[in-house]
């Protein structure tokens, strides 16, 4: 692995300050992070700590107040299909079928190089990957929340992004559906070898999925408190890991960080 792969995403000295009616609000300060190609990184922290702010910066949806973000050696100047995003509330267009929702991204990325049949084949494959080939003709309003989120993942994956950004993708789902989608995601990532940055507030999700867990301090002016390397062999099985001492150790480390050192202090109103 050469240096550019070791430092696939580089975040240097990033700060983010929002202008609010009450004055300047410092959301992030001194964020320094590098992500290797093919790594699965989770960002965890209490709500309001700027996890999503950081993810939006990597996506290019917002620009930092200070500092630089690089992806594959190039500065991130705006959003682009090479950094696909899976949104927390799936954000499917309700007037398009699942197929057309996925096709929209496929057409944008591969439309200039491939013909319609190839584009349609890609779209079909992506839906198959998330196990939704049968729902291709349905509108988002006609399928369950878990299925919508899988379409959202299919839309992102179909673009063959270099980086997959996920903003609490399973946060709105029930525990059983969430576990199933986590397992599916593990398989998909193993197959596609995508680089993933995922925001979560679920300790088990973070440990189960990640190669590295980036733990963030409380806001305002949040920063990276600690980075935990999760050295569990893949493929990982949630059942086998349930009583694995190594897994428990990582889990304990994250819980310790979140609830002992960064115990959430409610701000006086």
């Amino acid at each position: 692995m050469n240096t550019s792969d070791c430092q696939y995403i580089r975040i240097q000295g990033v700060e983010q300050t929002f202008r609010t009616p009450k004055g300047q609000f410092p959301a992030l300060r001194q964020i320094d992070l590098t992500v290797r190609k093919g790594d699965f990184v989770t960002l965890i922290g209490h709500s309001g700590c700027g996890k999503s702010t950081l993810l939006n910066l990597i996506a290019g949806l917002t620009t930092p107040s200070a500092g630089v973000l690089l992806c594959a050696g190039k500065e991130i100047a705006g959003p682009g299909p090479e950094r696909a995003m899976v949104f927390q509330n799936h954000s499917l267009l309700p007037w398009l079928t699942c197929f057309d929702n996925v096709y929209l991204g496929v057409e944008r990325v591969f439309g200039s190089a491939e013909n319609k049949a190839q584009l349609r084949a890609r779209t079909g494959q992506a839906l198959e990957l998330v196990g939704l080939a049968h729902a291709a003709g349905k509108r988002p309003g006609e399928i369950s929340g878990g299925m919508k989120q899988r379409v959202g993942i299919a839309r992102a994956l179909a673009m063959e992004p270099k980086v997959l950004l996920m903003d609490e993708p399973f946060g709105a789902l029930d525990a059983l559906t969430r576990a199933r989608l986590q397992d599916e995601l593990l398989e998909i990532v193993a197959k596609t070898r995508a680089t993933v940055v995922m925001v979560t507030h679920d300790v088990d999700e973070a440990v189960l999925l990640a190669d590295r867990i980036v733990m963030m301090t409380n806001g305002p002016a949040a920063t990276i408190g600690e980075v935990l390397h999760v050295d569990l062999p893949r493929p990982r099985s949630r059942v086998a890991l349930a009583d694995d001492p190594q897994y428990q150790h990582y889990r304990k480390a994250v819980i310790d960080f979140l609830y002992t050192r960064q115990a959430h202090v409610e701000k006086a109103a």
Binding site: N89, S91, L93
Partner: protein, 305 residues
Amino acid sequence: MVAAVFHSPLETPAAPAPAVTPAAAAMVAVASPAPVTAPPQAPARDLRGLWLAVLPPVLGFALLLLIWQAIASTADSGIPSPAQTWAQAVQVFAEPFYRNGPNDQGVGWNVLSSLQRVAVGFGLAALVGIPAGFAIGRSVFLSRMFNPLISLLRPVSPLAWLPIGLLVFKGANPAAIWTIFICSIWPMVINTAVGVQRVPQDYLNVARVLDLSEWKVFTTILLPAVLPYLLTGVRLAVGTAWLVIVAAEMLTGGVGIGFWVWDEWNNLNVASIIIAIFVIGIVGLLLELALVKLASLFTYEEVRS
């Protein structure tokens, strides 16, 4: 107010539907002897539902006729009775499309010319209002620039614009169309602008992440997201336009349902005026129904987080 008046009769078309069920059930029962033993309460209950659906509207119309008859039978009211009006209506509708010169034409021609004026005025308003609404919705600058003007002009009665139309266009017909234009443009501008402002940020983020072209954003995201709002604007605009055209035509003359009302008043033919009132109501109701139907085709479940 228009909606309130027009909406209550909307429930009635749904009502006769249960009527099919008991009839169909009865036919099945006759065809095969086995289900005859089915509990007899079921059709009875259906019949009761039918009663509740049909009876109140029928009673409503009966009450109207009763009051009408009572007023008509007082000595010097000058209002023709429902029976006299009906007789007159049969005569009027026997030949709705006759022409005896420019001032004496059938009720069909009058309704069609009114509809034509509404269509032209409304179409021009849509051509100007919908793009203006998109521009105002997309740009904070334009929104701040035009909102005070719209707030100022919107409450003005459209008829106040009629003299300006007569002055500028030097003709009754263009002035009536101008009045329709000015009254239909506001609901379309405002609703389109609100619709554009309410396009969920998530959809626009999707567009940015996918890096879609402006045209693609417009056709696949903005337009479908705004369409329900836009159609509400269109519905309000058509409703107002149909209210206004009658009044405008009374003032401008020519051919049209409003002019027809005024003409019959000059002939002291009150039965025709009552007929015209029903015709105006029914045409307005049909316009409303058509647009509600159209809007329902383009309304999608909204995404909720």
